[in-house]
Symmetry: C2
Subunit: 406 residues, 2 copies
Amino acid sequence: MNDLPFLLPEYVERLHRTKESMEAAGVEVLLLTDPANLYYLSGYDAWSFYVHQMLVVILEEEQPIWIGREQDANGARLTTWIHRDNIIPYPDDYVQSLQKHPMDFIADCLTQIGQADRRIGVEMDSYYFTAQAYERLKKGMPDARFQDCTLLVNRVRMVKSDQEIAYMLKAARIAEGAMQMALESIAPGVRECDVAANIFHAQVSGTPHFGGDYPAIVPLLPAGEKTSTPHLTWTDRTYKQGDTVLVELAGCYRRYHSPLARTAVIGAPSSLVRDLAEVVIEGLNTTLDAVKPGMTCEEVEWVWRSSIAKNGWLKESRMGYSVGLNYPPDWGEHTASFRPGDQTILQPNMTFHMIPGMWFDAYGVELSETFRVTENGCEVLADFPREVFQCPVDSGVYHPLGGSGA
Amino acid sequence: MNDLPFLLPEYVERLHRTKESMEAAGVEVLLLTDPANLYYLSGYDAWSFYVHQMLVVILEEEQPIWIGREQDANGARLTTWIHRDNIIPYPDDYVQSLQKHPMDFIADCLTQIGQADRRIGVEMDSYYFTAQAYERLKKGMPDARFQDCTLLVNRVRMVKSDQEIAYMLKAARIAEGAMQMALESIAPGVRECDVAANIFHAQVSGTPHFGGDYPAIVPLLPAGEKTSTPHLTWTDRTYKQGDTVLVELAGCYRRYHSPLARTAVIGAPSSLVRDLAEVVIEGLNTTLDAVKPGMTCEEVEWVWRSSIAKNGWLKESRMGYSVGLNYPPDWGEHTASFRPGDQTILQPNMTFHMIPGMWFDAYGVELSETFRVTENGCEVLADFPREVFQCPVDSGVYHPLGGSGA
């Protein structure tokens, strides 16, 4: 038996709940391409999602079917719980070819096993389900009735098992270590890339007791005017006194994430940053205190909105989202957001990343927490001071941690 | 002016060649979603491709139009050469919402500027152009005539400029450092995750003279039975004497990659591994010696195929592909592969990753080189011994490079 991250009964139960959702949606066959959903239901874990691959769930079948590239089939045999007969490789000349498309192969497979004229669910808005993939499936299975099942499995994933929570807590330990490393590394004269390198090292090395997995998003640490926007990556520019640095990162353990963001300032923060930080921290604290099962996501956002409104602020963008299992390019689960109109009801063991970032034309502030909903409130996963950090301007010589090339 | 990776005339020339290809393909408007193509034409560089975004090229317009999420618009202003009027943000309630889709917004924009009834090219098989994105565009622009332009810009990118080659050479320096770090770290009793952490550190820190960017694929370093398949990622298992470890990684500089793979053995390699390695190295050397402009990709593969056939071997999967600029999940350019049937003709300053990996049920060997085609042959970018490395079994105490969490 492979070293699976979950016990077999948990996979069976996940599959059972997925089939319930399929029945509710009126589909008989579900074609999954989101790598997180492949992992969730089968255990399959490899950096092979840059080629087309699929997990097929058929209502009447006990096990799903994995279809992927030939050289990845051994990876499927080594990481999943499914029977070898259900691992179907496609030949390599289907890979990134103009003549052949993997979805042609998959349509042929489904036709051969008598599934091509059924009601088939597809993940229409999943990153790795391209427009072309859908066109080819429609062409190859003209009698199928396709139906959009984007997020069907993501919704099954929303309430975490105890084992999943245990993994997210391990991820939070890794996030704490990586954030600590970031704050210790940021100093005048240090290159952004060296801080990012130290964060990566801490994320992947993990702790002495357990190693880290690769987070679905690289460390984001915009500084200076780049703090006006959240998603720029590092350069080899050196930090300067007076820089504000937004650090957003996650720990990841067996594909489960616990993101964490903090703001650092080199030297004394400007009054603009200090005032904004106070508002953000107060809003974050107030909102976390209010979270409890039965609330809707929009009610959570309303607590935040009211808190910052007292100080005259308004934030247009969502202030959090469901989080947990994922692969690049996103650690969010895409099922729920803290924003007006989102009626998702919080339940125990749902997990969220609450990130009330505020970005203006010349500066910004970000602090975040990942939490799980408990029976009567919430539990923040990481234990890290909730403040803006002032990095010393005279921290002496910076010691890079590792070697490098010529 | 922003700190662009290329001079303005290079962007203008790229856009000019893109428009020539558009005319040849018979399209008047090109909708790009591949982040590498956004970067190539506009300079836009951010980890924001987890939400829908687009670069619009209109045949008659001097500048492309960037359309993306509101909080990323400042990122577009900071990283592109295009005019602020051509940076169009969509409100945050379009993000990962079931009610609103960013492609509805984009279709509205294109309608308003009179482009919705034209011949429109889309990247049908690009990772970030989902089936849903296409459906929404068709619905929002019923009079448009859509046409598949997958790889149109990728093909424009195939022959690299001198500046692009200079970046890939920097990436090769980073790859050398990261591979050196990997080979120095692998030893019995060391966790896979700690080797991966050291590789990441070297990749991102770069060299004392220039920093590294994040490669589009994480370091792959399967060991033991996992060498039977190329794309499994690390665990926190410790290496054991006798393990074969396949190390595949890239250096990345300003989004340009130079991948490199080597095989390491802890202790003496088995005769199986040694014999296979000899065949792979001889085949790789012979093929690199044969490469010259005017050959087709399938002719290159034929040289390899003939070399290993002498020793009774056959490799079914492609043994290389075009490489350079990219974002996760792939550093390949998807335009050309070394395999039977690929008629792409090699031209000077095309760049490829030649990776004749061989994976069997219980073991595998991988060695690779990234090269550019020259006027009369090829230039291998990295300078790294082309051999199987024997890691000592008694390397003493392993010193982890960096700190970690609790």
